[in-house]
C-alpha cells in the first residue's frame, strides 16, 4: 500500500528536522504511542496501540532512520509486530521551505509504502489500507499542532 502526502508547518526546516528526530516529540505525534526510546544504535523502539473500532492491537516495533541529509530528507523504516498482525514499511520524508513563507514555513512531504500481514491483513484487508491512511493523516495533523505551539 502506498502512503503519501504533504503538510505544512509554521517553522524553519532546520528546526522541524531536529524535532522529527526527537523521540519524545515523535511519541506525542504518533497516535496511540505508549513508549518511544532511542536505542544505542540510533534506532527507536516503540510501543503503539493502534486500532479501529472494536479491532485493537498493540504493536511493538523498531523505527530506523537512514539516508539522513540534514535538514532536507531522511528515510524512515519501520517494522512491528502485534497480536493482530505485522507491519513493515519505509518512507522518504522530505522537507522543503515554503516558497511563500520566507523560510518560516516548511512543507513536509512523505512518500512511502507499507505492508501489513498476518490475521489483520487476511480478514480485514479492506479496512487496513484506510486505517493506515488515517493513522498517517493523524500523525501529520498532530505534528502540525505540536510544531505550531
Amino acid at each position: 500500500m502506498k502512503l503519501d502526502g504533504s503538510t505544512t508547518v509554521a517553522q524553519r526546516a532546520a528546526d522541524v528536522f531536529d524535532r522529527l528526530l526527537d523521540p519524545d516529540f515523535l511519541a506525542r505525534c504518533i497516535p496511540g504511542c505508549e513508549r518511544m526510546e532511542r536505542r544505542e544504535d540510533g534506532s527507536y523502539e516503540a510501543v503503539v496501540k493502534a486500532g479501529v473500532g472494536a479491532i485493537k492491537g498493540s504493536f511493538r516495533g523498531v523505527v530506523t532512520l537512514s539516508e539522513v541529509v540534514s535538514p532536507e530528507s531522511y528515510r524512515m523504516s519501520l517494522s512491528g509486530k502485534s497480536t493482530v498482525g505485522f507491519v513493515e514499511g519505509s518512507a522518504l520524508i522530505r522537507l522543503e521551505a515554503d516558497a511563500e513563507g520566507e523560510g518560516e514555513r516548511t512543507w513536509i512531504h512523505y512518500d512511502g509504502e507499507a505492508r501489513v500481514s498476518g490475521v489483520i491483513a487476511s480478514v480485514g484487508g479492506r479496512l487496513v489500507d484506510a486505517a493506515a491512511r488515517k493513522v498517517c493523516r493523524q500523525f501529520f495533523e498532530r505534528l502540525a499542532q505540536e510544531v505550531g505551539q
Binding site: A54, V123, G125, R126
Partner: protein, 284 residues
C-alpha cells in the same frame, strides 16, 4: 479461532447494562446478535475484557409504529425487519440483502450500526430514510441524525459507554429501493445505494440517497440529490443526475474492487435504485 479470555455479564435492565459499561470502560463490549463481535473475538482482533450481553434486556427488540413514525428496537434482527409489514419497503429490502440467512437471523440492526463497517448495508438505508439513531448512556438518552452518526471506518457517533437503543424512521409517503453489488464471499457491499423519493408533476420531486461500501463511511451525495430534484424519470436523465455519486469522497480500494470500480458501481447503482424507486412511486 478461540477467543482470548473474557468475562461475561447478562444484565436484565438497560440501567444495569449502562452501569457495567461505565465501570469497565473501553474493556467492555456490547453483544446482541454477535455477528460482528464474535468473529473479531475468535480471530483475536478484538479482546474485550468483558462482554455485556443485552439479550435479556427488555424492550430492546421489536418494531412499532407511532403516529406514522416507525421505531425499530436495536436488538431487532435483520430477518425480523425483512419480514415486517410495518417498515418502509426500502428498509425491508435492505434487510433482505444483508449477508446470508444465518447473519440475518442472528445479527441485529443496532449491532450493525454501532459496529459501523464501511461496507454494511444499513447505513445507506438509514441515510436515505433520514433515520434518527437513539443512544443511551450514563447521562441519559440522546438522538443523532443518521447523517452525522457514521464517522469513519468502524467509527460511529456512539461514545464508549453508550448503548444504541432504537432507530426512528420518520413517517413518509416516499417510495424507495436498495441496490447493491455484494462481495461474493462475505456478502458485504462493494457498493450499495438506497434511494427514497417523492414524485411531483410526473417528475422526481425530491430524492434522498445514501451510499455505502464506497468510502470510509456511508454518505449522502448532496450533488446527486440536488440534481435529482425536478429530474425527468428516464434512464438518461437519472443517469446524468447520478454521475456525481462518488464525487468528493475518499474512495476505498482493496483486492476485491479498485477505487475506480467502486465509483462506477456507485453511479450505476444510484441510477438503478432511483429508477426502481420512481417506478414504485408511480405504481402506488
Amino acid at each position: 479461532m478461540i477467543p482470548a479470555k473474557f468475562e461475561y455479564a447478562v444484565p436484565e435492565t438497560i440501567e444495569e447494562a449502562i452501569a457495567l459499561l461505565k465501570e469497565h470502560g473501553e474493556e467492555a463490549k456490547v453483544l446482541t446478535g454477535g455477528h460482528s463481535l464474535i468473529p473479531l473475538m475468535r480471530l483475536r482482533l478484538a479482546r474485550p475484557g468483558l462482554v455485556v450481553d443485552l439479550r435479556k434486556v427488555p424492550d430492546l427488540s421489536g418494531i412499532c409504529v407511532n403516529g406514522g413514525e416507525v421505531v425499530i428496537g436495536a436488538a431487532t434482527t435483520h430477518a425480523e425487519i425483512a419480514a415486517s409489514p410495518d417498515v418502509p419497503r426500502m428498509i425491508a429490502e435492505t434487510a433482505q440483502q444483508i449477508g446470508d440467512p444465518q447473519v440475518r437471523n442472528a445479527g441485529t440492526i443496532g449491532g450493525s450500526l454501532v459496529h459501523a463497517d464501511p461496507a454494511a448495508d444499513w447505513p445507506a438505508a438509514m441515510l436515505a430514510a433520514r433515520a434518527t439513531i437513539v443512544l443511551r448512556g450514563p447521562g441519559g438518552a440522546r438522538s443523532v441524525a443518521a447523517e452525522t452518526f457514521f464517522r469513519g471506518i468502524l467509527e460511529s457517533a456512539a461514545a464508549p459507554g453508550e448503548i444504541l437503543t432504537s432507530i426512528r424512521i420518520p413517517a413518509s409517503d416516499a417510495a424507495g429501493a436498495y441496490e447493491k453489488v455484494a462481495q461474493s464471499a462475505s456478502g458485504f457491499a462493494l457498493a450499495g445505494v438506497a434511494a427514497q423519493l417523492v414524485l411531483a408533476r410526473g417528475a422526481i420531486g425530491s430524492a434522498q440517497i445514501g451510499i455505502t461500501g464506497v468510502a470510509e463511511h456511508a454518505y449522502r451525495p448532496a450533488a446527486v440529490e440536488k440534481a435529482l430534484a425536478g429530474c425527468a424519470i428516464d434512464a438518461a436523465a437519472v443517469g446524468a443526475a447520478c454521475a456525481a455519486a462518488a464525487d468528493g469522497v475518499e474512495l476505498l480500494e482493496d483486492i476485491h474492487a479498485s477505487a475506480r470500480y467502486r465509483a462506477h458501481l456507485a453511479r450505476v447503482l444510484a441510477k438503478r435504485a432511483v429508477l426502481r424507486a420512481a417506478g414504485r412511486a408511480r405504481a402506488s
